[in-house]
Symmetry: C2
Subunit: 345 residues, 2 copies
């Protein structure tokens, strides 16, 4: 038996003992929550943040041997007050050296009113899906609704998720895939065209196809700009997904200075996002149009003309993690999934 909510959604049944935390495997997590459910959870998380109903999110990077640990922590009042801490190791030689994932970790979900660890779960599914979900939400508000052509820089796991995210909210028909590794690009082309029934073209020179793209996603580990201001066509929506630490960068800072910039969390983007580099080049924080949540909430406008270029600086936030982990946890409780473990015994 694991800890479970009383039927009225209130914190916990009184006298409930023994305490148990719910353990969820990667498969549990992936089978419990559909992508559309991530999108709903993530949109609600940004909305609550903008409405002042989230705790101030925390971010911590700690270096390790040839790698690093990224820690994201934050709380949200959903059916109950939740707090989640995600720790992801980023070790970019793992696949080659150990046959292990390069990015891996755990999410610990707590009761935000008393600190009890409700669940410990694999983080990979949540990290990738909630990142895609943010792009889906941003594209819904910021891309032209008739967007048919998408360019994807970086065609790994996240590239696939980003493309699925775009197709979930936009009538995408043609995809330009940009990347260095030809064999990976071909895999992407075959898999995505089959799965989504789209025309996927592999591209070496992105400058040509960018002029024909309605939407562009960058999701690479790049440390210098791969997308130049002069190459982007009017009306494009750009989701910059790769940068999540101060040394990562995908966009020409000029792109941000000249156009409408929407961020996931302003403080965080100023620290580790594309915004960070633009601020270094003289852009001011006040020039940022707003946070995604403010647009969802209607405090700020979304797209107001088919001509404007809009950039979404997506650093990945604890808001997305806590909302997703809470949704997974509630689904697991409903379905009797996972294993209970009493850490307090």
């Amino acid at each position: 038996m694991f800890v479970c909510e009383s039927s009225d959604g209130d914190t916990r049944t009184s006298g409930m003992k023994p305490y148990q935390s719910l353990l969820l495997t990667r498969h549990d997590v992936s089978s419990l929550l559909k992508f559309e459910e991530y999108v709903i959870a993530v949109e609600e998380a940004f909305r609550l943040h903008a409405a002042g109903k989230a705790t101030k999110p925390g971010l911590l990077h700690v270096d390790s041997t040839e790698g690093e640990f990224h820690i994201k922590a934050g709380g949200l009042k959903l059916r109950k007050q939740y707090f989640a801490l995600k720790v992801n190791g980023g070790f970019f030689h793992n696949a080659a050296r150990f046959g292990m994932p390069n990015i891996q970790g755990l999410v610990v979900l707590f009761d935000g009113e008393n600190g009890y660890p409700l669940a410990v779960m694999d983080s990979r599914e949540i990290t990738s899906k909630r990142t895609g979900a943010a792009t889906a939400v941003a594209a819904k508000y910021l891309a032209r609704p008739d967007s048919k052509t998408a360019t994807i820089f970086g065609c790994g796991v996240q590239g696939r998720i980003q493309l699925r995210a775009l197709t979930s909210v936009l009538p995408i028909q043609t995809v330009y895939a940009v990347g260095r590794n030809q064999s990976k690009l071909k895999d992407f082309q075959r898999e995505m065209s089959e799965e989504l029934g789209l025309r996927v073209e592999l591209v070496e020179d992105a400058t040509i196809i960018l002029k024909r793209s309605d939407v562009c996603v960058t999701c690479t580990p790049s440390r210098k700009p791969i997308l130049n201001a002069q190459d982007v066509a009017p009306g494009t929506f750009i989701a910059a997904v790769g940068a999540d630490s101060p040394d990562k960068q995908e966009l020409d800072p000029e792109l941000l200075r000249r156009n409408k910039v929407v961020v996931d969390i302003l403080e965080q983007c100023a620290l580790v996002g594309e915004l960070h580099h633009a601020l270094d080049k003289g852009m001011r924080r006040e020039e940022v149009h707003g946070e995604l949540g403010e647009i969802i909430l209607g405090k700020k406008t979304g797209r107001v003309s088919p001509e404007e270029i809009i950039i979404f600086d997506s650093t990945g936030t604890s808001l997305q993690d806590v909302a997703s982990a809470a949704a997974v946890y509630e689904k697991a409780l409903e379905g009797g999934r996972g294993e209970g473990f009493d850490f307090y015994k």
Copy 2:
């Protein structure tokens, strides 16, 4: 079967699958590591930190509903490269409202070379014991070796651990217990005099007995000074243990300005320790004598005269957590303890 080290202590056996993380309950943790073993682990952790062999420790506080989460993260090269993340909820109405611990949480121990989560364990035992262990190590280097009289401010769980820590390294015979709650003080007196065979006296006015104390520990949740500079006798060793967030304070800043100050980690004490308040009152960082690890390593002197007052500012560090969690983990592997769980399945 859980992940296990190869016999040469090297990272992991090749082809080892399925991955399993080791889950350890509070009882597992408390039965696996003796207090003396915490002292050894903690002394080594501070030594490695001073020798530049620890990763830069990270600290994060996130507020929640009527409580907060404290996150500490850091890595150490021991038998292997470890990284640990501890998240503790601090909810000071828990005991009264829910019959739950006020401070509770988990430690996640990772392989520092590839980010694999080696173990998830209850944090309470580690938090309290490693805090006591730091005092034991500090007292060994900084108290007069003939210290016979100790004053303890705050006689809860940590007060007991602190007293045990002092008696493990000093010939303490008499203890003055200072606190507000008379019934808790009497419990402390009865339990500690029985367990340690000491004379324990309950004290209302600390000013008198401080002049007769060789050692003084403050471990209260106080938010203003409870120990004044003019009350402390020459030669006293003071361990200030309570302050671990910017709003907590136990010592008169004058005490720090006038005397020899040793810190656990300088950066952290400047942020959340007693030092933080002294810096606010005009003390300069350069006036701090050194970090505990520098004294252990011999880079800085310890006590050089029986007259000097020495203050140890103990904020509690991830160094202590990672060293303790690694020691618990290695002992569990040796003894076949704990339960395996495959989060990656």
